[in-house]
Amino acid sequence: MSAHDHHLDGHLPHEPEKATLEGRNKILGFWLFLGAETVLFGTLFAAFIALRHQVLDGPTADHLFELPMVFAATMILLVSSLASVFAVQALHQHKVKAMIVWLIITILLGLSFLGLEIYEFNTYVSEGHKLTTSAFSSSFYTLVGFHGAHVAFGVLWIGLLIAQIFKKGLTVVTAPKIYVSAIYWHFIDVVWVFIFTVVYLMGKVG
């Protein structure tokens, strides 16, 4: 029951993330946190939907969005989610090296997504679509920017966890951390699917 069971002489249980009460608490608490995050993004979506036609003199969504690039970003993020699934599978099989490789692939894909998003925002600003332009632009940058900040935080977090795995190995203390970071990663992926639909696709069809 205590945090002290982590010197198990290499005998990790099948699901090391759920082996201790601390680990189970962490996973449950994190799911609850994601419940709160869902409400947070839900509210941001609601604000965006309420304001998305208020473009004033600024460029419209239809004019701004380049679907091929956004589609590429979507695919990158979806594949990164797949990579983190493989990382958790490797975790369950105690294949530490494979797990690290999949985690690195996850954050590399996350970084390329961020790169595309920064490029995209940069282009929009040069076309006169700034935070202060209209209610549409304010709610757009806040919603998509919140998501981007979540991706950036996830990249830093998973990066830090990789370093910890190198230092501490896979234990019943580090396993729950990897596991919840994977849940987090899936969550921001799901949020993006909604952004792709509500912001970009609906932006294109009016």
Partner: protein, 615 residues
């Protein structure tokens, strides 16, 4: 399991309080901080009432009056009522479910310190001279950059944002605690009613507070970065703020009142010496109230112009809440019915709560009638209504809970004579202040006005109301006197000082040792401790052998993280980007340290447990 002793530094004195992760100490910190803000909010209330004691009074100016009502409302709700509830939650929940601590002791400490940093930030606006003055609801455009220049509303936004982080953390923590940390045998339907109330309240916090977070972020962006969420001139929408605020704000009302319902259930049952009547219907009613609480936010906006269909739906949904609430009221009455009631201070507050809250509920149903609401809206009738449910409901509940659990929290019984004097002055003062405000509202006195002309029949009623406010002030002072008197009284307290305790917290010493339970108890029924006593047992049956107990280490990081957020907020407000970034670096740096350095905690060995390690 090798119980090897890690060298963990154990602090004493002030450092102990700054670094503690013990839920019992955090509960006391919440109580001190919440009590302090309660006094500030109370002082603001007294100043408001002095200004209104006679027509055309010039005790405070119009601007100061706006600041006073804004800070009074904001302080009382976010910095006084909620922290005092968190004080009771922290002090009682782990004990009631038979746990050694909450699921996340470190986060518990972080939750307290972020709340405190937010509260201090909001209140230093008084010294900065830039005080929020757009009402506790902070409606735009009044609170927007156009009509609220300066930094007043920024203090509101930043203070609540930081305090809100603490509340959200607390909600997640208590949900996880109640789901995962219950003692063996403590099924959901054996949980004490207060635990149920806190469980549902925590769920409300988790699903309501992020809405406020987004609202505050949006308004902050409008004010600091010239965004256009609520700027109608640039396509923004002022009604959006109202929706966001009340989608959060109405569940918030239930976040406040459900814990009070829980306290009343415990106190009524204990002091009637009867099992709570209709336990399972109580649980169901609580869940139903919480669910409906999310469906009714637009009843705050009947006069906004949402149209008859929306008004009709929200009107009916609001009236529906009266049904589960009525179930609870009748269950309390039936618990009292035929019980051998002892009228202690705690019991008096609980019994005083019932009719008072019913009155608040009745005016609530009156306000839910949308066409009639056009008459009541923004009058003193509304002020009377929400003070009946919040003071008459929540604050009576908190006073009841404090008198009830004080021996468990501090190892001292509060003086009954002073407790009863507190009750009668506060109870009479309360009804004197607010009952008459119903009629002030009905004859047309608008709320949030800093003064009024003579000859409108407002004068006498306002004077009576002000006298009542002073009586409530005296009641509060009597409570503080009681606290001091009881602290001076060194008489030790029994484990079960009321002798009729029903739940697990009364089966362990007062105050409990820092690990709470030497052996986790085996729960065999609802009202577990009462039933063991009925069987002639003097202690709970243990669910585990005696052994070393693992404890989490104290940490200063939560305090440091909160200071970082505090500095960052000031930096953003006053355009000192270096301070802002520095503050965030401190906060995220602390998170980094927390992640990298594992907390091994320490063990308390059985020999040490015999000596009795006191909290």
């Amino acid at each position: 399991m090798a119980a090897h002793a890690h060298t963990v530094k154990r602090y004493r004195g002030l450092m102990d309080w700054l670094t503690t992760v013990d839920h019992k100490k955090i509960g006391i910190l919440y109580l001190i901080a919440g009590g302090f803000f309660f006094l500030i909010g109370g002082l603001e209330a007294i100043l408001i009432r002095i200004q209104l004691i006679k027509p055309m009074n010039d005790f405070v100016g119009a601007d100061t009056f706006n600041q006073l009502i804004t800070m009074h409302g904001t302080t009382m709700i976010f910095l006084a009522a909620m922290p005092m509830l968190f004080a009771l939650m922290n002090a009682v929940i782990p004990l009631q479910i038979g746990a050694r601590d909450v699921a996340f002791p470190f986060l518990n400490s972080l939750g307290f310190w972020t709340f405190f940093a937010g509260g201090v930030l909001l209140n230093i606006s008084w010294f900065a001279g830039d005080i929020p003055d757009a009402g506790w609801t902070s409606y735009v455009p009044l609170a927007g950059p156009m009509y609220a220049g300066g930094h007043g509303v920024d203090y509101y936004l930043m203070g609540l944002q930081i305090a809100g982080i603490g509340t959200l953390i607390g909600g997640i923590n208590f949900m996880a605690t109640i789901i995962n940390m219950r003692a063996p045998g403590m099924s959901f339907m054996r949980m004490p009613m207060f635990t149920w109330a806190i469980f549902i309240t925590s769920a409300l916090i988790v699903f309501a507070f992020p809405v406020l977070t987004v609202g505050l972020v949006a308004l902050t962006f409008d004010r600091l970065f010239q965004a256009n969420f609520f700027e109608t001139g640039n396509g923004g929408n002022a009604v959006l703020w109202e929706h966001i605020f009340w989608v959060f704000g109405h569940p918030e009302v239930y976040i406040l009142i459900l814990p009070a319902f829980g306290v009343i259930s415990e106190v009524v049952s204990t002091f009637s010496r009867k099992r709570l009547f209709g336990y399972s219907s109580m649980v169901f009613a609580t869940v139903l109230i919480a669910f409906l609480g999310f469906m009714v936010w637009a009843h705050h906006m009947f006069t906004t112009g949402l149209g008859p269909v929306a008004n009709g739906l929200f009107s009916i949904a609001t009236m529906l809440i009266a049904v589960p609430t009525g179930v609870k009221i009748f269950n309390w009455l039936f618990t009292l019915w035929g019980g051998s009631i002892s009228f202690t201070s705690a019991s008096l507050f609980a019994i005083g709560f019932i009719p008072t809250f019913v009155m608040g509920g009745v005016t609530g149903v009156m306000l839910a009638v949308a066409p009639a609401d056009f008459q009541y809206h923004d009058t003193y009738f509304v002020v009377a209504h929400f003070h009946y449910v919040i003071v008459g409901g929540l604050i009576f509940g908190i006073f009841s809970g404090l008198h009830y659990w004080w021996p468990k929290m501090f190892g001292r019984v509060l003086n009954e004579k002073l407790g009863k004097a507190t009750f009668w002055t506060f109870f009479i003062g309360f009804h004197m202040t607010f009952f008459i405000q119903h009629f002030l509202g009905l004859i047309g006195m608008p709320r949030r006005v800093w003064t009024y002309l003579p000859g409108q029949d407002f004068d006498t009623m306002n004077a009576v109301s002000t006298v009542g406010a002073f009586l409530m002030g005296i009641g509060t002072i009597l409570f503080i006197v009681n606290v001091i008197v009881s602290a001076a009284n060194k008489k030790p307290v029994a484990d079960d000082p009321w002798e009729d305790g029903r739940s697990l917290e009364w089966s362990i010493p007062s105050p409990p040792p820092e690990y709470n339970f030497k052996q986790l108890p085996l729960v065999r029924s609802y009202d577990a401790w009462w039933n063991e006593k009925q069987k002639g047992n003097t202690e709970m049956p243990p669910a585990e052998p005696v052994g070393p107990i693992h404890m989490p280490s104290p940490s200063i990081l939560p305090l440091v993280m909160s200071i970082g957020l505090f500095a960052a907020a000031l930096g953003f407000m006053y355009d000192h980007l270096i301070v802002a970034i520095g503050g965030l670096v401190v906060t995220f740096g602390s998170m980094f340290l927390r992640s990298v350095f594992d907390d091994h905690g320490f063990h308390i060995e059985p020999e040490e447990q015999e000596k009795g390690v006191h909290a």
